[in-house]
Amino acid sequence: MTINPDQPLKFSPLHRLQWEEAQQKFVILYPEGMVELNLSSAEILKLCDGAHNLGQIVSELEQKFAASGLTNDITAFLDIALKNGWIQQP
């Protein structure tokens, strides 16, 4: 299971991405479980909105953080997210 770069990415309807004030971080919530996210992971997942594909997510984040060469890191995280069922592709 790997990311198809041509298809848009969508956050799973069976999970919830939420800001937790008490923890000062984003978390993914699912049946009886929770994953705490660092800031960059949360930024990536917020763009998994069904409209962006891999390349579009990379360019948007590179622009936002005035950085380059993020492709490998973002792809690696999205592969993990896909494997865990946090995101989906059609």
Partner: protein
């Protein structure tokens, strides 16, 4: 008090709201106290709302509506709506008994995130025998409806000697019902299950065979279904890290408002567990005797005190130590380093003997009549 004074107290993350001890089922391994009939009073809707609000403010985010059977509470949808407004992730832990499609839709609209349905076995005959109530076909129907209405569906099957041989069929049933998660919960021997242990505990050979089948299935369905496997701790050499450490993560509120560091902790003597009718959640969590009792490791005795694994398993389960050895400060007898470990070997041998001699002793089912007699 046994707890340490210089300990950094972490906020609760998990709130288990046991709404009621009422239940139409009679499972002989129920996790409710054996003497639950002594606690018939239930918190009001307003009390529950306050509890949810106060715990959420401290940082609790996962919320389990449990029981008994939580569907017997008429205000369930109202509580779910309140919880959603506060930002909880709400889990309904139900037998499915009394669930209708109308209710599933109502709860979805109120903001319920997930429904966990328990099934006792893969056949109607055994399911209805263990549940003590004809419920198998309805449970399967409820599981389908849960999926139909877009909830993640968790199927929970408690494993014991009467159903462990059905492991392949149980897995096939989970697949057929389209479970997103399957919880295979080996029976934990507290309360009712402890009383029925000779009749419920599988032999080691049965465990190993069932575990191998479940493991192969887990690999087969990877990416489609997640398996939560609750280990049979009597067959382990190290105890479970019970509750992720006392008073670190989990907060249980019993139907009568008693606040417990774990849902079994009512059995421990001298904790003076506080009640939410008298105190705020913040005070209970931070200041009460009960929640500080086994925080940290100052309370530990040998072999835990000098053990290099004490931060991993926190000495195991306090209730299990008390239930088996009579000493709630002792190492969990599951640990092979425990001087009481022979109690585990004896329990296994006793259950094995019962299995091989076709023990005539009947299962004690969880119902009010038995509870009153045993209380």
């Amino acid at each position: 008090m046994a707890g340490s004074n210089n300990l950094k107290i972490t906020p609760p993350r998990w709130l288990l709201a046991e709404l009621t001890y009422a239940c139409p089922l009679q499972c002989p391994y129920c996790s409710n106290p054996v003497d639950y009939s002594n606690y018939p009073s239930e918190l009001s809707t307003e009390d529950w709302k306050r509890v949810l609000s106060e715990a959420r403010k401290m940082g609790a985010v996962q919320l389990g509506f449990s029981g008994g059977e939580p569907l017997t509470r008429k205000d369930l949808a109202e509580l779910v709506r309140h919880a959603r407004g506060l930002g909880y992730y709400s889990n309904l832990i139900t037998s499915g008994y009394g669930m209708t499609e109308e209710k599933i839709v109502e709860l979805k609209e109120a903001g319920l995130d997930h429904i966990q349905v328990s099934i006792q076995a893969s056949t109607q005959e055994l399911n209805d025998h263990i549940a003590g109530t004809a419920s198998f076909e309805h449970k399967k129907k409820v599981a389908h409806l849960v999926k139909k209405h877009g909830y993640p569906m968790v199927l929970c099957v408690v494993i014991h000697r009467e159903n462990i041989h059905q492991m392949p069929e149980i897995l096939a049933m989970a697949e057929e019902l389209g479970a997103d998660y399957l919880e295979l919960a080996n029976t934990q021997y507290y309360g009712w299950a402890h009383m029925n242990r000779d009749l419920l505990m599988p032999t080691k050979e049965q465990f190993e065979q069932a575990e191998a089948i479940a493991q192969a299935f887990k690999e087969k369905v990877a990416g489609k279904m997640k398996i939560y496997y609750v280990v049979p701790d009597y067959y382990e050499n190290r105890p479970k890290a019970c509750m992720n450490g006392w008073g670190t993560t989990f907060l249980t509120i019993a139907p009568d408002g008693m606040a417990l560091p774990c849902h079994e902790a009512r059995v421990l003597p001298g904790l003076d567990c506080p009640n939410v009718r008298d105190s705020s959640i913040e005070r209970i969590w931070n200041e009460s005797k009960a929640f500080n009792f086994f925080r940290g490791d100052d309370w530990m005795k040998e072999p835990c005190r000098s053990c290099d694994e004490k931060h991993k398993d926190h000495g195991g389960c306090r209730c299990q130590a008390y239930l088996l050895s009579g000493d709630m400060y002792a190492a969990d007898p599951v640990c092979s380093k425990s001087p009481d470990h022979h109690l585990i070997d004896e329990a296994i041998a006793s259950a094995r003997n019962s299995a091989l001699t076709a023990d005539e002793k009947p299962l004690i089912f969880r119902n009010s009549k038995n509870s009153r007699q045993l209380a």
